[in-house]
């Protein structure tokens, strides 16, 4: 798929540049904020996807916008390159692969933890430590509160799912009971 290949190419190029810098995570955060801000604004999206507007004008507009928000030079270059190459449409799909590649490049791993109630700082630290011990990598922990979990927690590390929620236990119990039929 050309679109996916293009996304991976841009993500790989961007990560290869920012991973050499100490503030790689900060730059990525900035890129994420800029990308979200642009793609969530319908007028901006329509402007940059409008074929009747000259690419040169779009590039100038993008550069101006990013200067106004004080974006880092590498982020500006990535964004203007996308506009110049008529690839603004892949911007919203670029975040996840970029983050994934960056974390991998930096020896980090993202853990998405779903819990029934908000974690205290102490609990969050204990979870982070436990996941770092288990993965052997630096963990970027993102927590999400979902009362539907009822109790326990659910962790997703890449494609690995560690489900210890009461909700899932109830589902398993139901399957076991109906499976005996």
């Amino acid at each position: 798929m050309a679109g996916r290949e293009a996304i991976n190419q841009y993500a790989r190029a961007f990560v290869s540049i920012i991973s050499k810098r100490e503030d790689a995570l900060t730059i990525f955060s900035e890129f994420r904020d800029v990308a979200n801000g642009l793609t969530e604004n319908t007028a901006v999206v329509h402007y940059f996807l409008n074929p009747s507007i000259l690419t040169r004008d779009k590039v100038k507009m993008m550069d101006k916008l990013l200067i106004d928000v004080g974006a880092d030079g590498i982020v500006r270059r990535l964004m203007t390159t996308l506009v110049k190459n008529n690839r603004f449409n892949i911007l919203k799909f670029l975040l996840e692969p970029t983050r994934h590649m960056l974390y991998e490049e930096l020896g980090m791993v993202e853990v998405k933890l779903t819990v029934p109630v908000a974690l205290s700082k102490g609990m969050e630290a204990r979870f982070q430590a436990a996941f770092e011990k288990r993965t052997g990598k630096q963990v970027v922990l993102s927590t999400q509160v979902d009362s539907g979990v009822i109790g326990g927690a659910v962790a997703r590390i890449g494609s690995l799912l560690i489900d210890g929620s009461l909700k899932t236990n109830l589902v398993k119990m139901r399957e076991k009971l109906t499976g005996e039929i």
């Binding site: 974690l119 288990r134 109790g151 326990g152 560690i162 210890g164 139901r174």
Partner: protein, 180 residues
């Protein structure tokens, strides 16, 4: 001959009645008598054979007719006998046909009954299987419904009754398992 003498006598009666016998009367009477004899003899000679033949023919004819009637009567009797025999045979034949028909009908009836019994057994077997399947399906659905209900109830109770501390304990347990 007797008849002839009587006839001759009768011819003399008018003469005796008049009381006077004319001359030459006896000669004339004799001649007339001879003539009469000759005439009747000739007549007898001439007619005897045809009359006899006619009578004989009539007799033979009557005899033939009688024989024919007798023969026809015998034939009729024979035919009657034959018909009676045939009738009696026909009755037996009819009885035989009726018997055979009755037997065939009984066999057919038996066959139909057996066939019907087989069909009934088949239908009963299918119905039993269907009932068993439906019963099993209904039982499974009921059990699934009860299980779903029980799990939903358990979930509702957990959500309702679990204190924040209980929830934290479940998370701690998860964390403990993670740290092992």
């Amino acid at each position: 001959m007797k008849k002839l003498v009587v006839f001759a006598f009768l011819m003399t009666i008018p003469v005796f009645a008049s009381g006077h016998v004319p001359e030459g009367y006896w000669f004339e009477l004799m001649a007339k008598s001879v003539n009469a004899v000759v005439f009747f003899g000739f007549l007898f000679w001439l007619l005897k054979k045809p009359v006899v033949n006619a009578l004989s023919s009539q007799r033979e004819n009557l005899s033939l007719q009688l024989e024919d009637a007798e023969r026809k009567e015998k034939e009729a009797a024979a035919r009657l006998d034959q018909i009676e025999k045939r009738m009696s045979g026909l009755k037996a034949e009819v009885e035989e046909v009726l018997k055979k028909t009755d037997e065939a009908a009984n066999r057919e009836k038996q066959r139909i009954l057996e066939q019907a019994k087989l069909e009934a057994d088949k239908v009963r077997s299918i119905a039993e299987r269907e009932i068993e399947i439906r019963f099993r399906t209904a039982r499974n659905e009921l059990r699934k419904y009860m299980t779903d209900l029980a799990v939903e109830k358990a979930e509702a109770i957990l959500l309702d009754k679990m204190e924040p501390k209980d929830v934290e304990n479940t998370m701690m347990q998860y964390l403990s398992e993670l740290e092992v």
